[in-house]
């Protein structure tokens, strides 16, 4: 697994306020978005979707809503500290990322969540440039020897 972090460019996105019409459009789009995202990913409607970085497991299902990795309390065998009957969501993300070959996405720092986007349509937010677009395909990079040493 690659462990070299990416350079941090921005730690929070500057939020632009919603116009009234956009809120309505967002609510309408959210209706359809929910039909897809809730059954498939148990989407928590944070409006700032990072599913493509977390191997399509919603990180917002974590009781602490962590966006940058697991807290220090994960139980043996990868169960959640708060709800012992559930698996730690970040344990699942890491496992799925490895399976899908998407671990490079876990090395970037996710921005601080903009709570104004809560319960808005992430699809519309991408379209209006409020959040970064999802990255579906990872460009394959040939590793040199030094970089291969840095992967574990």
């Amino acid at each position: 697994m690659q462990a070299k972090p990416e350079k941090i460019t921005a730690i929070a996105s500057k939020g632009t306020p919603f116009a009234r019409g956009t809120r309505r459009l967002s609510a309408a789009m959210l209706f359809f978005e929910n039909m897809v995202k809730i059954p498939l990913f148990q989407c928590q409607r944070c409006g700032e979707c990072v599913l493509s970085h977390t191997a399509f497991v919603c990180s917002q299902r974590c009781p602490k809503r962590l966006r940058n990795g697991p807290c220090g309390g994960t139980r043996p065998a990868g169960y959640c500290e708060v709800y012992p009957e559930r698996r730690c969501i970040w344990h699942r993300i890491v496992r799925r990322s490895k399976w899908m070959g998407r671990t490079a996405f876990l090395c970037r720092m996710e921005k601080i969540h903009n709570w104004d986007l809560e319960k808005t349509s992430a699809w519309l937010n991408v379209f209006t440039g409020r959040i970064d677009p999802p990255t579906f395909f990872l460009r394959k990079k040939r590793m040199n020897d030094a970089e291969r040493k840095n992967t574990i």
Binding site: K64, G72, V82, R95, K149
Partner: protein, 300 residues
């Protein structure tokens, strides 16, 4: 020497942990300070650890610095949103507190107010980045801070919790975000710690931040059993539990185990110091440091 100077130099660093009391009487904090007079470079003041209400960490830190000791305040994301975090940090800077340890915080479910609303507005990696940005002279919103605070930023790492392979990535992220010292979870399983340190050295992280290995002295077989079963994120080998059970004087055995672990940790390349966590047993600090031979070495 301050903690910042110590980290920049090559000297051994020893930090210890002080839990604030569950009442408003400052005298007990001052009394506890006496255990940390010799050989300790920084005193971590916990921030409502395990979600139990205690004296505020900044207020306790002021009491500690009045006793001429250097505090390290812990800042957790459980109780404050980004506005409160930044305002508390400015207040801490004004009171002369320079060291901050950025943590996510234990979930409120484990505390004495499990019904409380957890905030978790930012997470620990983002908090490190946010404090770093304040050092650069900007609030999170981008508004300038003039003059900017000068915090020494620390972060925590847990080499023992699942998913093991991702823990190094997360540590690397924290260091990239601006952490300058790292305090680890209590080490009992030296094998696992050595594997983790190998990874740390492989990435060169020990050169970018000072790694302080956590040591937690236990006082009874019951306590160590409780930690193994109830406290998640700590790995305890069965041999240690057996040793504690068999001992005639469990307290002495606990001290011996802590001293042995410290000696082993000091041999590990890349470990810059020790972070002692005498939970509810602060009075034992001088003895452990003395027996592990740390007091002579930290003299300056």
């Amino acid at each position: 020497m301050t903690l910042r100077e110590k980290i920049q130099s090559d000297a051994l660093i020893v930090t210890a942990e002080l839990g604030p009391p569950q009442h408003g009487d400052g005298q007990s904090v001052r009394k506890k300070c006496n255990h940390f007079r010799k050989g300790v470079d920084g005193i971590n003041i916990t921030d409502n650890q395990t979600g139990i209400v205690r004296m505020s960490s900044i207020a306790t830190a002021v009491l500690v610095s009045e006793e001429k000791l250097e505090p390290v305040i812990q800042m957790t994301c459980r109780d404050r949103n980004r506005i409160a975090l930044q305002s508390d940090l400015l207040g801490a800077a004004a009171l002369g507190i320079e060291n901050v340890l950025c943590l996510t915080g234990d979930h409120q479910k484990f505390g004495n107010h499990p019904e409380a609303r957890g905030v978790y507005d930012v997470d620990s990696v983002q908090l490190v980045a946010m404090v770093n940005r304040m050092n650069e002279g900007f609030f999170l919103s981008g508004d300038p801070i003039d003059p900017p605070p000068k915090f020494l930023i620390g972060a925590a790492a847990n080499p023992f919790a699942e998913p093991f392979e991702f823990r190094l990535t997360r540590l690397a992220k924290k260091i990239e975000a601006g952490a300058r010292f790292i305090q680890t979870q209590a080490v009992f399983d030296l094998e696992r710690f050595r594997v983790w340190m190998q990874g740390v050295r492989g990435l060169g992280l020990h050169r970018k931040a000072a790694i302080l290995a956590g040591v937690l002295p236990v006082r009874s077989g019951k306590a160590i059993r409780y930690m193994k079963e109830e406290v998640s994120g700590i790995l305890i080998p069965d041999t240690l539990i057996e040793r504690m059970d068999r001992a005639d004087d469990p307290k002495e055995e606990g001290i011996r185990i802590a001293v042995e672990i410290i000696r082993e940790l000091r041999r590990e390349e890349g470990v810059r110091g020790i972070h002692l966590m005498p939970v509810m047993w602060e009075s034992i600090t001088p003895r452990i440091l003395e027996e592990a031979g740390l007091i002579e070495e930290t003299k300056h």
